[in-house]
């Protein structure tokens, strides 16, 4: 017998370890139990039970997070939404769909495509992420430039609050100016306000054929002019940048030859609408002009979808290629126009304090979002390297503050960035967040110790 009956639950060590953590490995997985509700009503029952018995609940999706938002390390009960994965309704006129929170995002994308529609928010872990988790973390990824973040696609939410109240937020309406839009408080709340059990998501028409450019910049100062020109002249879906070091690591890990000379300090993979000859011509003209202006030194364009995929690999494979060097990672953002200046300042900061460290840069330039990866030198122990990272962090974040940027652009706060929130958010803001949390969850049963 379990106190959760008739709701399915697991308490064996293997399950606790599996469901108690996300993609981070900094905290032990020590939940008391994992429960698998199958309906909004069962989630309500769990909240009532938690209030009665003083349990803490950790809402849990695909657990692909990178900030520990779904980690349960102090005897909480993990509420896994994975058994709630039904697609309730697919509406081709609106167009949109309503689904339970546990539907994998990859599945959502596939179902939309099958109906001749498109769910454009996409990131490396989308296939194993779940809808509810993607909303609670406001997932971004590689096509934010064109389509925005998950927030921009949420049209309605069913939420269970900390008092067991069921809220129907916005009910799929396009227009609804009736007071505070609580839906937007839930998006990106990382499970501290309530549990999302169902969502209505907007869909769109699929974009026309895409081509991929791989371009090499003459220098740091060329990145913004190139981005500006290409965005003005083409319909961009992605503008993803990386540095020369990234290429070396990807080439080492995949055994592929880089299609360009590899002499440029920075590169970008650019995806754009390419329905025919005209767009192709325009891309070439732009390249010619930017090459003449001395901004671009090299470039190639995909001639087939196979080549498009191969070009994307040079951006997509970076993270896994550098993982053996257990990088100290930061997911930072500043205003788009300040990216080059910010990158330069960070580079100088690292080389000043740790000249022996290598930094690999990649990110979503079009969103002002940089992924900074400091690599562990081979002769450094992981312990010493982490200590150096901890020593480096306040300096990095102080720079973020000076640039009026964000210490977590798309990975959220969770446990990882909790102590650093103040670099980006004011005291007054954090206090208001706490008050909002108290209004939704007066007894503090949801995701204790996370975010603020």
């Amino acid at each position: 017998m379990s106190r959760f009956d008739p709701i399915e639950s697991l308490t064996d060590d293997e399950s606790l370890a599996h469901y108690g953590r996300d993609w981070t490995r900094f905290w032990p997985a020590r939940p008391e139990a994992v429960v698998f509700p199958r309906s909004t009503e069962e989630v309500v029952d769990l909240v009532r039970l938690a209030r009665r018995d003083g349990l803490k609940l950790v809402p849990s999706g695909g657990r692909t997070g990178l900030s520990g938002g779904a980690v349960a390390s102090s005897g909480e009960v993990v509420v896994s939404l994975e058994k709630m994965r039904e697609l309730v309704e697919l509406d081709t006129t609106e167009p949109g769909l309503r689904a339970q929170a546990g539907l994998p995002v990859g599945e959502l994308q596939r179902r939309a495509t099958e109906a001749g529609l498109y769910y454009p928010v996409d990131w490396a872990a989308a296939a194993s992420s779940q809808l509810g988790g993607s909303i609670a973390t406001n997932a971004g990824g590689i096509r934010v430039l064109r389509y925005g973040m998950t927030r921009d696609w949420v049209q309605g939410l069913t939420v269970v609050t900390g008092t067991g109240e069921v809220l129907e937020l916005n009910r799929g309406l396009v227009k609804n100016n009736t007071g505070l839009d609580l839906r937007h408080l839930m998006i990106g709340s990382e499970g501290v306000l309530g549990i999302i059990t169902e969502a209505t998501m907007a869909l769109t028409r699929p974009p026309p054929e895409q081509s991929v450019l791989l371009i090499g910049f003459a220098g740091l100062s060329s990145i913004m002019p190139v981005f500006t020109e290409l965005r003005a002249g083409l319909t961009l879906s992605a503008f993803e940048f990386f540095d020369r070091r990234s290429i070396e690591y990807v080439a080492g890990a995949t055994g592929e030859d880089f299609p360009l000379d590899g002499e440029c300090p920075y590169y970008a993979v650019v995806e754009f609408d390419d329905p025919g000859q005209a767009s192709q011509e325009r891309a070439l003209e732009l390249f010619e002009r930017l090459a003449e202006a001395g901004h671009l030194a090299d470039g190639t364009i995909s001639q087939s979808l196979t080549q498009a995929k191969e070009l994307w690999r040079w951006r997509e494979a970076i993270s896994e290629s550098i993982s053996p060097m257990t990088p100290y990672k930061n997911d930072l953002s500043v205003r788009v126009s300040r990216v080059p200046e910010f990158l330069d300042a960070l580079d100088r900061l690292v080389s000043e304090h740790y000249p022996e460290f290598e930094v690999v840069w990649f990110g979503h330039i079009g969103d002002g979002n940089l992924h900074m990866n400091v690599l562990r030198p081979e002769d450094w122990s992981i312990g010493n390297f982490h200590a150096a990272g901890r020593e480096l962090s306040p300096r990095v974040f102080e720079l973020v503050r000076q640039f009026e940027g964000s210490v977590s652009a798309e990975h959220g706060v969770g446990l990882l960035k909790r102590e650093d929130l103040h670099y980006t958010r004011s005291k007054a803001e954090i206090e208001l967040m706490r008050q909002i949390k108290a209004a939704f969850d007066p007894e503090g049963i949801f995701n204790p110790g996370k975010v603020f």
């Binding site: 026309p208 054929e209 450019l213 791989l214 371009i215 299609p259 360009l260 329905p275 000859q277 070439l284 390249f287 010619e288 090459a291 090299d298 470039g299 190639t300 364009i301 995909s302 001639q303 087939s304 979808l305 196979t306 080549q307 995929k309 191969e310 070009l311």
Partner: protein
Amino acid sequence: MKILVTLKRVVDYNVRVRVKSDGSGVETDGVKMSINPFDEIALEEALRIKERGEAEEVIVASIGGDEVQQQLRTGLAMGADRAIQVSADGDVQPLTAARTFLKLVEKEEPGIVFLGKQAIDDDANQTGQMLAALWDRPQATFASKVELADGKATVAREVDSGLETIEVDLPAVLTSDLRLNEPRFVKLPEIMKAKRKPLETLSLEDLGVERAGGIEAVSYEPPPQRGGGKVVESVDELVSELKSKGLL
């Protein structure tokens, strides 16, 4: 020596092909079109031969409407010296293609005609062989390695039992298999240069090609839908399921 490489415009390998609702063919409207991957490999090999100094000129040729100029331009950007479009509308069957290439062979007198082993749209695997017969020259098909010396080509062929290495006298027809090489990416500056390279347009009539009409497509239909998967609860259930389907 000249090398003539043929390029066919086909639905991109990565596109999920859809049959037209009336069953009259395959949907190509708004579908990504590319060079037939085997032809691209043939061109890559021709370019490498030229870069080794074993050929002087690489000519790319394609049969079809003006849309094939896009694939010819790609071929020029990869490094071919000039291009020939043989304009023709409608269905071009392998025998028509072979007769057309024979006319180009008579005109250009190449040492090698390099084709893909087959085009991925109709999978006919006939044009190269027919051309060799019409031209009355040797053929080395399914090439996975090509070496040239003393007016001969030594070609490793992919056959069912492994690799077969043969030697043929040039001029000859070669057709490429998948593992021959990995085609290069097109550099943007090369695309600019390719715009100034010559692209000649001829027609089937100019060349005096008699169209073949031996094959008539009766109907097209998609493959049967695959049934959904099934989640089993235990190893025992899996084993008995497999046994019941005669798979164990």
